[in-house]
């Protein structure tokens, strides 16, 4: 079975690196990192991931704008997008039924096991 392709868009270099290590160690995922929000769409078009983990607050382009770009990309229709951000608390997520702008959501910091569990839920949905 092909590995699930996951694109991580986050300006936090250390974090993206460690998520990549943890996810790839699991063996089910191929992880690509994009640390620049502005380049997210381009990377996504090229990589064509199954899931994009999208940070919200980034210095060059924030998650909301990136989401809008990605949603306009026809080639990415089948790509799932999940926010992974430090912006809101768990409680905030609960109040929005676990979604932000209709997208699934997971708050930083998160343990790898929980992240993987959530990724699987989103991919299966």
């Amino acid at each position: 079975m092909d590995k699930r392709r996951i694109l991580m868009v986050d300006d936090e270099v250390g974090f993206t690196h460690l998520v990549k290590l943890n996810l790839e160690k699991d063996g089910r995922y191929e992880v690509r990192i994009e640390n620049h929000g502005a380049k997210a769409a381009e990377t996504a078009r090229e990589f064509l991931p199954d899931l994009i983990l999208l940070d919200i607050i980034m210095p060059d382009k924030d998650g909301g704008e990136v989401l809008a770009e990605l949603q306009q990309e026809a080639s990415l229709r089948g790509t799932r997008i999940m926010f992974l951000t430090a912006t809101v608390s768990i409680k905030g997520v609960e109040e929005h039924n676990g979604t932000i702008r209709g997208m699934p959501f997971i708050a930083k910091p998160v343990e790898p096991k929980k992240l993987i569990k959530r990724i699987e839920e989103v991919l299966k949905a």
């Binding site: 460690l18 430090a86 608390s89 930083k108 343990e111 790898p112």
Partner: protein, 668 residues
């Protein structure tokens, strides 16, 4: 004749009797005496009673007794002789008629005696019985007439000499015939005779003399007297006096008018007094007319006898004369007139003066007028009440001023009260403002904490996320590294979670600023919150005692936030208690001081309580008594914030029996 009169009086009671004449016969010759006595036995119309004296001394003694009407005197007596005998006897009894008895040789002596006052003389031996009797009767009668005349003259003389008034007689040409001594004195004459022949023109100023002359001529012409004329008389020397003059026609015996006579009384003093009285009366009249008070005199039936101008003006009349004879009923409303009448009746009968009585009444101008009245009974000189004297003062102006003043005072008092009330409400508003300001400061403090939290959260969470990811990787990678490495990594992971929890708390705190209100039952909120700490309760084996009143009102609240508060309180209580502690939860309805329904939820524990130095800081953000790592110090601050936004409150205190108690109050 005195004796005769007595006789007449007596005769009225008995029978008509002849007048009795008591005769003293002074005669030293017994024979002559006897002879004379005999001739008087039959007195004709008179009855003679004869007493004989032999000497002058004896005669004088008899006269002393006074029982004698006439004396028959012989001049030749043993103890006196000749004319001297008559003189001595006459001196002793000057009013007694004396008839001298003379011998034929001394007739001349007898005539002299008659000249000196004897009534008659008779010659012894020549007079018969009838002659003697007639002589005696005539002598007595003559003497009586002379005496009477003399008395009249004396009276007239006394009158003319001593009356202080001017009395005069004038002839037909107004020439003085006779004037009184007082008038002579007035004219400056030495004697009354000086006036004879003079006229008024000689003694008075021409003006008066002329007037007087004309008056007299009129009296003479008409025969009508001039009675009690009051006139000024100016004398020739300029003196002026007032006289009350009466002039009468002076008639002759035949009835012809031959002049005038009259009397003038000096009434200058009376006139002066009259003038003084008049001027005093005018003064008083001017005074009472000028007085603004109403002054009046009423008779016993309430009619005005007198009043001043003020009364007339009050009744709307021009002159006080228009008021006289009328009563209050002619001018005042009936009710008021009746009231005055009642008061006056009491005064007239009860004799108690009514002093300074205030009476208010509606006048024709529609306003209430006020008079202050003093009435006193008026008495005649016998002390009988004949009416009353009254003084009314119109005090309407004063009353109105007083009323206005009291109205102004009331207004002032009301304004003052309003001012005070305004001041109180301002003070209260100020205090509320201060409280609000304090809350704002607190809110601002909290808000800045919130903003800080939101800002910091992102920056802190990212490194935390990286760390968590890294540790997990390391844990997987170093499974062979042994127990110590695994433990180290676990502790680090725990530390990261703790840091994350703080961030979450901060974010919750910052997110507490908005409420989503809905009606909810506090009973279910309490139950739900208890469920959420069920795990902790179980772990510490806490015994829960619930006393939730069944009739709690439903309140509009942000249910989740209130649950957050209760969970916070439960968590704190559980944390404070040892194993097997008792958590007591009470909810009861009540009424706030403003009448609003309220619900009070108290959460009590039996832990150690809160140290007194900690209590004031208990709601400060980031203040915590829990050991580091056990709490963020935000729970109570958030609870306080949430209740504040609900308009409710939270109080935390120590229970007297030990442990702490938190009371949450929410209003409907």
């Amino acid at each position: 004749m005195i004796v005769a009169e007595r006789e007449t009086q007596r005769a009225g009671a008995e029978m008509p009797a002849r007048p009795r004449v008591r005769v003293l016969l002074v005669e030293d010759s017994l024979a002559d005496a006897r002879l004379t006595e005999l001739s008087l036995t039959d007195g004709g119309v008179c009855q003679f009673e004869t007493h004989v004296a032999r000497t002058l001394a004896e005669a004088l003694k008899t006269l002393d007794d006074g029982q004698v009407d006439v004396v028959l005197l012989d001049l030749g007596l043993p103890d006196s002789f000749g004319l001297e005998t008559f003189q001595r006897l006459h001196a002793a009894a000057p009013e007694l008629p004396v008839i001298v008895l003379s011998g034929q040789t001394d007739e001349e002596l007898a005539v002299r005696a008659v000249q000196e006052g004897a009534q008659d003389y008779l010659t012894k031996g020549r007079a018969d019985s009838d002659m003697l009797a007639r002589a005696i009767r005539y002598a007595v009668e003559r003497q009586r007439i002379e005496l009477a005349l003399e008395r009249e003259r004396e009276l007239f003389r006394t009158l003319m000499e001593h009356i202080p008034d001017s009395i005069y007689f004038k002839d037909i040409q107004s020439r003085f015939l006779r004037i009184s001594s007082a008038q002579a004195k007035l004219f400056g004459f030495k004697s009354t005779e000086e006036a004879v022949g003079k006229t008024d023109f000689d003694v008075f100023a021409k003006e008066h003399a002329q007037a007087s002359f004309e008056d007299e001529q009129q009296v003479i012409r008409t025969g009508n007297p001039l009675l009690a004329k009051i006139e000024p008389e100016r004398l020739a020397d300029g003196r002026l006096r007032w006289a009350l003059t009466t002039k009468m026609p002076f008639r002759s015996k035949q009835g012809y008018i031959v002049g005038t006579f009259g009397i003038s009384k000096d009434i200058t003093q009376i006139k002066l007094m009259e003038e003084v009285l008049e001027s005093e009366r005018n003064m008083l009249r001017s005074l009472i007319d000028a007085l603004p008070d109403h002054i009046y005199i009423k008779d016993a039936s309430g009619r005005f006898l007198l009043c001043n101008n003020a009364v007339a003006r009050f009744f709307g009349l021009d002159s006080p004369e228009d008021v006289v004879g009328k009563s209050d009923f002619d001018f005042l409303p009936k009710g008021l007139a009746q009231q005055f009448e009642r008061e006056e009746r009491v005064l007239l009968h009860g004799d108690t003066p009514s002093v300074n009585r205030e009476t208010g009444f509606a006048n024709h101008d529609g306003r209430t007028h006020w008079v202050i009245t003093t009435k006193v009974a008026l008495r005649d000189r016998h002390g009988h009440v004949t009416g009353l004297v009254g003084i009314n003062r119109d005090i309407s102006e004063r009353k109105w001023n007083e009323e206005q003043l009291s109205r102004l005072n009331l207004d002032l008092a009301r304004s003052q009260r309003e001012l005070l009330a305004t001041y109180e409400s301002l003070k209260q508003a100020n205090e509320e403002l201060k409280a609000t300001q304090m809350k704002l400061i607190q809110a601002e403090k909290l808000e800045s904490v919130g903003r800080l939290a939101a800002g910091v959260a992102h920056e802190v969470k990212n490194p935390l996320a990286t760390l968590l990811m890294g540790l997990d990787y390391l844990a997987e990678s170093c499974k062979s590294g042994g127990e110590e490495v695994a433990m180290t990594i676990a502790q680090m992971q725990e530390a990261i979670k703790r840091a994350d929890a703080i961030i979450h708390g901060l974010l919750d705190f910052s997110a507490s600023g908005q409420l989503e209100m809905a009606e909810a039952s506090l009973t279910s909120v309490v139950e739900q919150s208890l469920l959420l700490v069920y795990h902790d309760l179980l772990q510490k084996r806490i015994h829960v005692v619930k006393r939730l009143a069944p009739d709690l009102p439903r309140l509009r609240i942000d249910r989740q936030k209130v649950e957050q508060v209760l969970i916070n309180l439960f968590t704190n209580a559980i944390a404070a208690m040892p194993l097997n502690g008792e958590l007591r939860i009470t909810a009861a309805p009540g009424t706030g001081s403003d009448g609003r329904a309220k619900v009070m939820v108290s959460v009590e524990d039996n832990g150690p309580g809160i140290p007194s130095e900690v209590l004031p800081k208990i709601f400060d953000p980031f203040f915590s008594t829990k050991p580091t790592g056990m709490g963020q110090g935000l729970g109570l601050a958030v609870a306080h914030n949430i209740l504040d936004m609900h308009g409710g409150k939270i109080e935390i205190m120590n229970r007297p029996e030990g442990g702490a108690c938190a009371i949450v109050t929410l209003y409907a």
